[in-house]
Symmetry: D3
Subunit: 279 residues, 6 copies
């Protein structure tokens, strides 16, 4: 496969199973913290995977033992927001608006990626870690992961996705507000019990292996079905039931003409593993 061409400065991308890409944030010495160059590259990686017919499922994790990501690399990112130096608040605001939009768009690339993304968290997973994790589809983690919606502690409201998505991702709004207002840590057990993560594994290695196994299982499915399911669930969270049903009708009016439908039916009858065309 052509994943060998995915060469990036801040990310490692390989393919541990057929149709699966594993993306690692690769700044372990910096606790995988982000600055502008990192988030722009993050977007490039996911935009490319989204359109790559060789890939049907993605795992996102952080390199090294210590952190999925510790959030913003404040030192390195200092300059990224530095234009707020005009004496005119409205002109500063315009500059900041452009920065925030660009950063939001980068994080949203995981949500917009046509293929489902599993986020595997471990170690320090604070601030931006939650923004990234909520933009993914399924979350699993290692024991010992330290989670926190940390933004209030640096004097701001989280603005690249956590506040938009966390209330859609877990059921208890009381819990969401507790962790967002207090910026307190929560651990893997708490994350599991509120439904933020779906699985907790002993070690980071176990968690990554479980993520890859899940992705590999998805990778055997019809890509038409899998990508359609992601699209329609994400649409559902943003629309009424009636609008989602209508949109689904239009979507499936062409997707049901896919050969995958026949392929899946046939392989179901013959008990053989189906082979689906690229998408």
């Amino acid at each position: 496969m052509a994943l060998q061409d995915y060469k990036y400065e801040h990310f490692l991308v390989d393919s541990p199973a057929p149709f699966v890409a594993h993306v690692q944030i690769n700044r372990p010495k910096k606790l995988n913290a982000f600055h502008r160059a990192v988030w722009l590259e993050f977007r490039q990686v996911f935009d490319r995977l989204s359109a790559d017919p060789e890939i049907r499922a993605v795992v996102l994790s952080g390199a090294g033992d210590r952190a999925f990501t510790a959030g913003l690399d404040v030192q390195a990112a200092g300059g990224d927001f530095a234009n707020a130096s005009s004496p005119d608040a409205s002109r500063n605001a315009t500059a900041l608006r452009r920065n925030i939009e660009e950063f939001q768009d980068s994080v949203s690339a995981a949500e917009k990626c046509a293929k489902p993304v599993i986020c595997v968290l471990h170690g320090v997973s604070i601030g931006l870690a939650i923004d990234l994790a909520t933009a993914c589809d399924v979350r699993i983690c290692a024991e010992g992961t330290r989670f926190a919606v940390k933004e209030v502690d640096i004097g701001l409201a989280a603005d690249v996705g956590t506040l938009a998505r966390l209330p859609r991702v877990v059921g208890s709004l009381s819990w969401v507000k507790d962790v967002c207002y207090s910026a307190r840590d929560f651990d893997a057990g708490e994350a599991l019990s509120v439904g933020f993560v779906s699985q907790v594994h002993k070690t980071k290695a176990d968690a990554v292996a479980a993520g890859i196994k899940m992705a590999a299982f998805w990778g055997e499915k019809s890509p038409v079905a899998l990508q359609g399911t992601k699209e329609l669930i994400n649409h559902s969270k943003n629309h009424t039931v009636a609008e989602n049903l209508r949109y689904t009708t239009i979507w499936n009016s062409v997707m049901l003409q896919s050969s995958d439908f026949q392929t899946a039916l046939m392989s179901g009858l013959s008990k053989k593993k189906p082979r689906f065309e690229k998408l």
Copy 2:
């Protein structure tokens, strides 16, 4: 009561308690699978119950020991989607659109039914079973129920309600996406822990009895209050808080003029069981 007139080919309808209808999908030899004639009849049953003043609560279950429903009767339903035979994709799409809409409308009849509906699941409860269950109000099940959002395994995204409603019905989006992407089985315990079902009972008989007991309890309540509560909660899931409060205001500006309000207050003071007029 007049439920004796509810004669249908694929459904059994009786009244095990005052104001309660029990609807059973009645194709046990076919694992209660649906084809077009079945879903059209399903809609007729629920549209009729919705307007029947003798009925205040409904229980939906599947006849026989093996299945609530195994989903589509692929053999029998083969012809239902057969019109996709034109060489012109847009004309196929138009035909498919009409089929999907009709099928969606049938499933939605449980949601649109003015009276609350309890879905009792047991045995094989896959594919369409989840679409039907999420269109009902409360879900309870028997131990040993085998649940699955099965559509991905037949090469398509679920299109008659599961993807629209499941994210509104349980809190953990990570779990929703896990079961929808993987098409994996989940059992009664898992269904309970994520909040998909509210109760698990030893046997199907126990679960049905519990469903009927719950429906009978509701049946003693003011039908004005009960139907208003269903309407307003369903509205709430599709609108902002402000819009729902406004809609509620208009709704209750007439409903508070109901005699049920007086009846309930009086019986509360006198400790007698209230008797409400038909609705």
Copy 3:
């Protein structure tokens, strides 16, 4: 501080910790039940706290041992809805509409309060108690609390907030409909397991102490960050992800120019407690 000036007939307001207001519903002999004068005063209290720069977090509880609130004081409130006496249903409806709107607006004052509100429940917490609790941000309770969405039992659909907010506050819609249709009691353990409350404490005193401790912890945070977080989460529950991200961008384009950002960063580096300007 100036909370000494918060003199109200039906509420006690004091400040048990820096930047924290504790509001107690103060009609213990009447189980803290509400009539029109009470809810109008409730709104005054929260509107005032919302704009008071001395306050950064609020605790709401009920005075006395027996009840957070038993709901409407039917006797006293009798007259509040009495104008429904015209023989003309449309004119009654117009009068009722004004009453309901006023009552809804009063309850919504807790949600609109710019500062986060912790609701501490104990004892009898039925009917209006749930409307109030869901309009707050975080809910905690004492063991032995008796919860119920009681409105169906008095012949009406809840209309001052429960049906609008409860489906947003907990994840399991099956549970929401169960308790709303049946008007049955549920206890602290059930409330915790479904995510309605975040903590359960032995006694009312423990629960109030825990609420105050949480509020005091929040009170040390940047008020710009804290109030922004409340605003953006509440916005998120009513809008699409895309709309919320956009709104967040505009909001933070000015809020990131706050001195709190610098103050928080500096105190993080120096390990000193930050001191934020009033807001």
Copy 4:
């Protein structure tokens, strides 16, 4: 063609041009007024035309010289709303709600009809006439047409479509409110100048001929293109630009695979009249 099978009690349906149906309200002695049987039949006619592959455009007019329609046949319709006889306002409301929904659904059949509908108005065109006309796509009229949004004069707010659609159909909200509040007459010239109608013709016969000519012109177009255009414009009026663009993308991702695209291109090059397959 098979329009000869369109036999109805209150409507005449014929085909004055290829692919065109002309529907006439056929109660000229009653000024084409509607009661329940009429509006139920209206829905049947349009639902059938919507799915009839022989038809690509529809003209709606009123038989006789005197009226397009004078609105409700109050005498005959008396019984249609008569169930409002309970002493209980909430039960009356429930009955009325069902009546209004059914009537709205009937009128909306013109809007939901997959094929575009031209409404030709003449003579008395008041009350329901405006509801019907705004549910159609294009409006033309004869000189001497007497228009009025008449409902306020019978003590009610228009409820089967005028208030929902008129503000979307003409640009000046000041004019919309003027005619809706006052129930005053307006004539063909005024209707043209505000954009309510697109053409005014000398006589009813001229107007009908013009309507048929326009429909015949549309009938020569690609039905895939024509029906898609209706669907997408109607969607546009109810959604944001971004949502409409997305919906359009999905819609055209299959519709561009139509043979009509090739057929139209080819006939454009060869200057021959294209012949499109049925839809």
Copy 5:
């Protein structure tokens, strides 16, 4: 009637016809410009008229010959926005937000007024004049009126209603953007041709007389019908057709039980002027 009790510092309120209130902005020496005390009083006047059963229609005009209103009284209003004096942009923003909301709410009182409002413009009608006019229902003016959306010329985007409502009030978005970007004057003829106003009269006196005549005509109508029509058209501009139809159904399910319906029918048959109960 009791309008004699409407005593205000900045407004004259009298009743030139049965059921009609005429509200005049009464600062002619200051070209009827607004500062904070004026807009707070404006809200009081309209909130009171909204609930006053003696009033069914309202006319709003400006006292004196020179202006409907010249907008903000910059001198007097200087202090109203003066709190923007903190060196902290986020704290200034919070203060400004409260000011803008209060001002918006005041202007919106005309839109929220349950009774329809006719705005009669003359002379200088710039800036706030357009915000006020678009919050009214029908606009008429005198020849020689000088209109302008003036805000861009004082360095800001209009923020108390013009940008929100003007695109809903006239049809041509090209024209809306032209006048809003350029801040150029437009005259009565242009206002009429784009549909911003419905009538142009020779003099201010003629325009006021025409406004009062129109209001008096409305005042003879069923107040249930009139107020319902305003509510439903305003709702329509903010919702989809489907949502508006649903809302209309609930609204009319009680309003059709009004005695006005019978009264209007009867008087129609007997050719007598109907007399409706207060609302």
Copy 6:
């Protein structure tokens, strides 16, 4: 100024007045028709102008005497949509979806451009010409312009913006549907009378001069005010009045802190031309 660096293959960009950019589609021999390379460049040009502090207003026109644009360059664009060659309709649809999105995003760049855009049309202005024109803010044209929403005549529904925006741009929906269904030509006079264009000039040269004059007039205004006005009007067309007012409040809570506000006030008092800082 630095516009000299705006070197593009298919567009000419110069600055005929301070702060004004004039963008000409520069394929006059091909009637300014577009293929993929053209629309990708179109987006680049407008994205760059959007962020260029030297530019405050933009004019878009077509080079040469014959056409603003004749739409798609079918020959050259043939390959752009050629991937629809799989026998699998769902895979074709996926490829088409990506193409349509990219094309839509390109056209939308004019709408998203922070600076207002005047579209000057002349000669052949069909198909894509309308998509482009409706994405601009103000439209003016030369006599003799030939307009048509041409897509139906090539067998498809317009999909890069016309159907989404035209119903928001002119008031008469009857007219919109007439021209979209029929694909008929309309001329400058008709375009003016329905409000599609704001001005008609004798010649193309006159129209371009008028566009530049209008842009130059805007260019003298506060850029904070001008860009805010564009943002808020566009937001208004996609949201409710209440949502737009709220968004406006947040927007202006920082924008009112701009120095432009002071600058404009001062220059108003001193009757001097204001000089605003870059934005």
